[in-house]
């Protein structure tokens, strides 16, 4: 018995050693270092870091208007994604009614989620381009040419355009998630409800929605986390411009570090994102689950 325990322990240590060391070096240490860095004015190059206390945190709130403009843009993405949720849910309910071709629709709807984000972003840059752009051509052919705008350079519309591209990318994923949730409801339950005379609307509100509550909360929090960290679509399509009009919190943070070499300040912003993401995660997994169980 003792030798088994010994060989078991040897197995665990040998198996976990490398993955844990890698994790410590490339995930845990950088995360901790990010927090340490946020209290300094480090420029990314010099060998020593000057401690500035909570200076960066104060500056973040008082002297970085463009950061808050960027955060507002994140909320535009979030709003667009939230508007999409009921639509995605309705589509999932529809696809769950089993008619010919639902598999094909789901397969195609999911496609944008696995498509190369950079390729897709360039494709949409052209789609919305002011010269020969497909979107303007569509509007023209529908007789709506008066709606034509500078989709990617007008600060008033650019974020909505980018957020729609983001919605294009993630909606199919959400549809498939909702649909998987709906399929996992036992057919007997739905059958019983139907026999008891529940109409489609009652089935939806009384059985389907409550059963997929977990998926629903996952999608919602995935939207919050995803839009908060939104980066590649604006990075490729507008690089945050014009000015900072279409920047996002993450884009602004990354620029602060790698473009302006203010690693200390950027670390402070990174900590802010990290704290929000972890709070959202805890709220979802601890608070909501407790409430839900009761």
């Amino acid at each position: 018995m003792k030798s088994i325990r010994k060989s078991r322990n040897r197995f665990i240590v040998l198996s976990l050693a490398i993955p844990v060391i890698l994790l410590l070096m490339f995930v845990v240490y950088p995360s901790v270092d990010l927090v340490a860095m946020s209290f300094t004015s480090w420029d990314g190059i010099s060998p020593h870091r000057d401690f500035v206390g909570v200076g960066n945190y104060v500056d973040m709130f008082t002297k970085s208007p463009d950061l808050w403009l960027s955060l507002r843009n994140n909320f535009i993405y979030l709003a667009v994604h939230m508007v999409m949720i009921p639509i995605e849910l309705s589509i999932a309910v529809m696809l769950n009614t089993k008619f010919k071709g639902t598999g094909l629709v789901k397969t195609i709807a999911f496609l944008p989620f696995i498509i190369n984000g950079v390729g897709m972003s360039y494709a949409f840059s052209y789609f919305f381009s002011p010269v020969n752009g497909a979107f303007n051509d569509i509007l023209t052919s529908l007789g709506l040419s008066s709606w034509i705008q500078s989709w990617l350079s007008d600060p008033k519309v650019v974020n909505f355009v980018l957020a729609s591209v983001s919605a294009w990318r993630f909606s199919g994923y959400h549809i498939v998630l909702f649909s998987t949730g709906l399929t996992s409801i036992p057919t007997e339950v739905m059958e019983a409800a139907r026999i008891d005379g529940a109409n489609a609307w009652q089935q939806l509100w009384r059985i389907q929605l409550p059963s997929i509550w977990l998926v629903f909360s996952f999608v919602m929090f995935d939207c919050i986390r995803g839009t908060l960290q939104c980066f590649d679509i604006p990075f490729i399509m507008t690089n945050g411009g014009p000015g900072y009009a279409s920047s996002t919190f993450t884009l602004y943070t990354i620029d602060t570090a790698f473009k302006y070499n203010s690693f200390g300040m950027a670390a402070t912003m990174a900590v802010a994102i990290m704290v929000i993401v972890i709070l959202v995660y805890l709220f979802q997994n601890v608070v909501l689950k407790k409430v839900f169980r009761q």
Binding site: L34, K106, I108, I115, N132, Y173, D232, T250
Partner: protein, 281 residues
């Protein structure tokens, strides 16, 4: 009775209409890119963007130009190397780590689990601000080693998948092998790992998609022109095209094709693998 039938047909029509709209919304922008990629610069100006050029007037010159690009072979090679090495270690470490964490109780287990959870939660892009220095200080900056080690160390979706699979393997299997005098390494490699094959297949496919599509890690850590991946090749190429949409569109198509083909073949594994985390938490 007849009214009922009419209603049913009407509802079915609405369903197909909605389905058609969804398909058009997804395929439309991709078709536009495809059409653009077979146009000449002149055709681009005088045909509508949503229509292909007239039959017989399609040009393949844009593709010839993209496929002849000096950096493209390197991009394929680099992407291939990164894929093979990182996925090999992702599978190896992912399966054995999941097995240990799922099966055994040991000291520091909670702490180690906590670290892995942290790894899954840490915001992806901004953590590079601190990771950058680590990569530089161990001399991996501007080498293929940078993305490889980052994917192996911090891309942890496989853990979740493997843990779900391990929990479905009956413990009695390990125990009877143990009684037969099998060591733990043999149990893992001879019994557990083969049973994890379906999970491994899903992990491999999803990792290919994720790594091929990743932009920021190769962009940040490998600025050297020789070290472009497919995605950063596209960024580089787009920068050099300055407004020549037809050639850029051809480059987009070339870069999109590998993952799209993979998806069309393995769409079941990919959708199931990527939605596993959401539906059974």
């Amino acid at each position: 009775m007849n009214l009922d039938k009419l209603k049913r047909i009407l509802i079915l029509c609405v369903k197909y209409l909605v389905s058609a709209v969804i398909i058009a919304a997804v395929i439309g922008p991709l078709l536009v890119t495809l059409f653009t990629s077979v146009k000449t610069q002149v055709q681009l100006g005088n045909t509508s963007a949503i229509l292909p050029p007239a039959l017989g007037e399609w040009t393949w010159d844009n593709y010839a130009e993209v496929l002849g690009a000096k950096l493209l072979p390197d991009a394929f090679k680099n992407t291939g190397i990164i894929l093979v090495i990182s996925i090999f270690f992702n599978v190896l470490f992912g399966s054995v780590t999941a097995y240990c964490l799922q099966r055994f109780e040991f000291r520091f287990k909670k702490l180690i689990m906590g670290c892995f959870y942290l790894g899954m939660m840490v915001p992806t892009f901004v953590v590079e601000i601190a990771r950058f220095k680590v990569i530089q200080s161990i001399g991996l900056y501007n080498t293929l080693g940078a993305p490889i080690i980052i994917y192996v160390a911090s891309d942890l979706m496989q853990l979740y998948l493997y843990m779900q699979f391990v929990s479905k393997i009956p413990k009695a299997l390990d125990e009877s092998a143990l009684i037969d005098g099998c060591g733990y390494f043999r149990i893992f490699y001879r019994i557990i790992f083969p049973l994890l094959m379906p999970a491994t297949a899903t992990v491999i496919i999803i990792k290919i998609v994720n790594i091929v599509n990743d932009m920021y890690v190769p962009y940040l850590y490998m600025p050297k022109t020789k070290l472009k991946t497919l995605t950063t090749f596209l960024m580089n190429y787009a920068g050099a095209q300055q407004g020549s949409w037809p050639t850029l569109a051809a480059a987009i198509v070339v870069v999109l094709i590998p993952t799209v083909v993979l998806y069309l073949i393995f769409h079941k594994q990919i959708t199931e693998g990527l939605s596993a985390g959401a539906t059974k938490e």
